[in-house]
């Protein structure tokens, strides 16, 4: 800013910059995150303990990793409701490969990730080639994956895992928990994928205008298969990290993962209609959910409130979204839109 600007011009240029900033979809949620954080930081001495802050990051890491995959799927105009089941199956296969097949932990982990890739690929083929509706289809394949999980484990847990299997969930890289590093690495790579690569552009295209994408002559099928495969891979990665966090392999691992994952994406500003969404937004969404959950603990409120808070946050996020897209305004809410 130059010194000879009039105050009015300075105000105007500042306003322009604020407008530009607010034009980014993430700005609103980021602001909400900052306000929420500052309030909690001020009112709660427990909240601001470094240990508590790392705990929040550790708690949101699995959700975030899996939510990056979900964000990609939603941006493409679809949904993947089988993520939790893939996470569970991949985790159990990993544990069984070590326990029953006697494989080294790193090999077992690669096997588990492979299972996730396979499940995701299957989803992709069913969605793309067979044109099945992704919501019902992934609900069904999710049931299948969960069934396979319980079938091969007979519902039995594997207690006591070696460090090699739990390192992703419990290990440290220097002073920083490995899973926090992993979360940021995944977020960064997925951000690059979505915003800087041809594949990412194609994802945004088919989510934004499927018909036009087909007219351009791009291979929509292949892109869809790629999207679901990646979602399967990240679900498996999340499941294996969860294995480490829990320390034991429980067949029901990954159940209950889906809702916070979808929530993070939606609160982070991903449009349910496809075409719009960002990894940064999803990370912020996950952080808001994480702080909300943590607040209940540090303020010593009933922890069962968390489901209520989480559900309400989603409803609020959906409402904000409707407002932003102009689908909703006060006249409609008050019933005066006739």
């Amino acid at each position: 800013m130059t010194a000879n600007q009039t105050p009015a011009a300075r105000v105007e240029s500042a306003r322009a910059r604020v407008r530009e900033l607010m034009a980014h979809r993430e700005s609103g949620v980021f602001l909400a995150l900052v306000v929420f954080f500052v309030v909690m930081y001020t009112v709660s001495p427990i909240f601001r303990r470094p240990f508590n802050l790392t705990t929040i990051l550790r708690q949101i890491s699995v959700t975030s990793i899996v939510a990056m995959g979900q964000t990609l799927v939603i941006v493409s105009g679809a949904f993947d409701l089988s993520q939790g089941s893939i996470a569970g199956l991949a985790a159990m296969v990993t544990a069984k490969l070590w326990k029953n097949a006697g494989l080294d932990p790193p090999i077992a982990i690669i096997g588990g990730l492979g299972v996730g890739v396979l499940c995701g690929f299957l989803n992709g083929v069913l969605a793309a080639r067979f044109r099945l509706h992704p919501i019902v289809m992934t609900l069904a394949t999710g049931a299948v994956f969960l069934g396979v999980n319980f079938y091969i484990t007979r519902g039995e847990s594997i207690i006591g895992l070696p460090d090699g299997l739990t390192w992703l969930g419990r290990g440290l890289i220097g002073p920083v928990p490995a899973l926090i590093v992993l979360m940021f690495v995944v977020a960064f790579l997925m951000h690059i994928l979505l915003t800087r690569t041809l594949f990412g552009l194609r994802v945004r295209m088919i989510g934004g205008n499927l018909k036009a994408s087909q007219d351009v002559g791009m291979n929509v099928e292949r892109i869809r298969v790629g999207i679901f495969t990646l979602s399967g891979f990240l679900s498996a990665l999340g499941g294996i990290v969860l294995l480490g966090r829990v320390g034991n392999a429980l067949p029901q691992i990954g159940q209950g993962l889906l809702f916070p994952v979808v929530t993070a994406a939606i609160v982070g500003g991903t449009l349910l209609t496809g075409g719009v969404g960002s990894m940064a937004g999803t990370l912020i969404g996950a952080a808001i959910m994480g702080i909300a959950r943590n607040s209940l603990v540090v303020l010593q409120l009933n922890i069962y409130l968390q489901d209520i808070v989480q559900g309400m946050l989603v409803v609020v996020a959906l409402l904000i979204d409707q407002f932003r897209r102009g689908e909703l305004n006060w006249r409609i809410i008050l019933g005066r839109d006739r």
Partner: protein, 252 residues
């Protein structure tokens, strides 16, 4: 085949069920002219243009593009011959920026470690150059299309077509949904493109648009060609008469 013509269509017929949509229609588009295509609803304007663009296969007739007989089985064949059609329902991506829309389907990329990265800088630079060459008033190629007006979206679609090296542009009712000011800006752009050597066919209900910027106007009625008038020596009444009454001489 005359090389004076960018497009020549001969005896194009098309029947849908028991409706004869087109009946032996001839059309000549001169190189670098702006030809208006007018007629009442169901006169066959859009069907005729879809046969030229390969999205409707005619039952009979021949099409020549730049003097060469063209076998048009789909829009991609037409695009390969330098044709571009801009429909009323625009095939733009509202969720993407201008540059991404301009370069849809032929993005500049760089391969690094087997991954195809977008060369965004080059696409921004080239779309900016393209916009300014076409004198399209869009302040930045980074603007999201969803924030734009209907007229600006049309212009993005035009820029995309021209960016694809189209030399023959078909526009189907581009001004139908626009306000007066925006429609005029778009018409100016079409005149500008024509002056830069692009051959344009403009389907429209607004005859005055054609009379103000067009070179010739062709009238269709009931799937048959009623005539081609020179804009210079025609009045609105002449055109309207043809649209409503058809050929006065009654000959085939």
């Amino acid at each position: 085949m005359s090389l004076e013509h960018a497009v020549e269509m001969r005896g194009i017929s098309k029947r849908f069920g028991n409706v004869q949509a087109l009946n032996g229609v001839d059309l000549e588009l001169r190189r670098g002219e702006l030809l208006g295509l007018v007629g009442d609803n169901a006169a066959g304007k859009s069907t005729l243009m879809k046969t030229l663009y390969g999205s409707v296969i005619p039952d009979a007739g021949e099409i020549f593009v730049e003097g060469q007989k063209a076998a048009l089985r789909n829009p991609r064949d037409a695009q390969a011959l330098g044709l571009a059609m801009i429909y009323q329902d625009l095939a733009v991506f509202n969720n993407l920026d201008v540059a991404a829309n301009v370069f849809t389907g032929r993005e500049y990329t760089r391969r690094v470690l087997g991954i195809t990265f977008l060369d965004k800088k080059r696409m921004y630079n080239e779309s900016e150059a393209l916009l300014s060459r076409l004198r399209i008033n869009i302040s930045s190629p980074k603007l999201l299309v969803e924030r734009m007006s209907g007229g600006q979206r049309q212009m993005v679609a035009v820029a995309r077509a021209i960016g694809f090296d189209a030399t023959i542009l078909i526009m189907d009712e581009p001004t139908a949904a626009l306000g007066v000011k925006e429609a005029n800006t778009l018409l100016d752009l079409m005149a500008e493109l024509r002056d830069q050597g692009i051959s344009i066919i403009l389907i429209t209900h607004r005859i005055t648009d054609v009379l103000s910027i067009g070179d010739r106007v062709m009238v269709l009625k009931g799937g048959e060609r009623q005539g081609i008038l020179n804009v210079e020596d025609s009045t609105l009444e002449d055109v309207e008469y043809l649209i409503v009454r058809g050929r006065s001489d009654g000959s085939g």
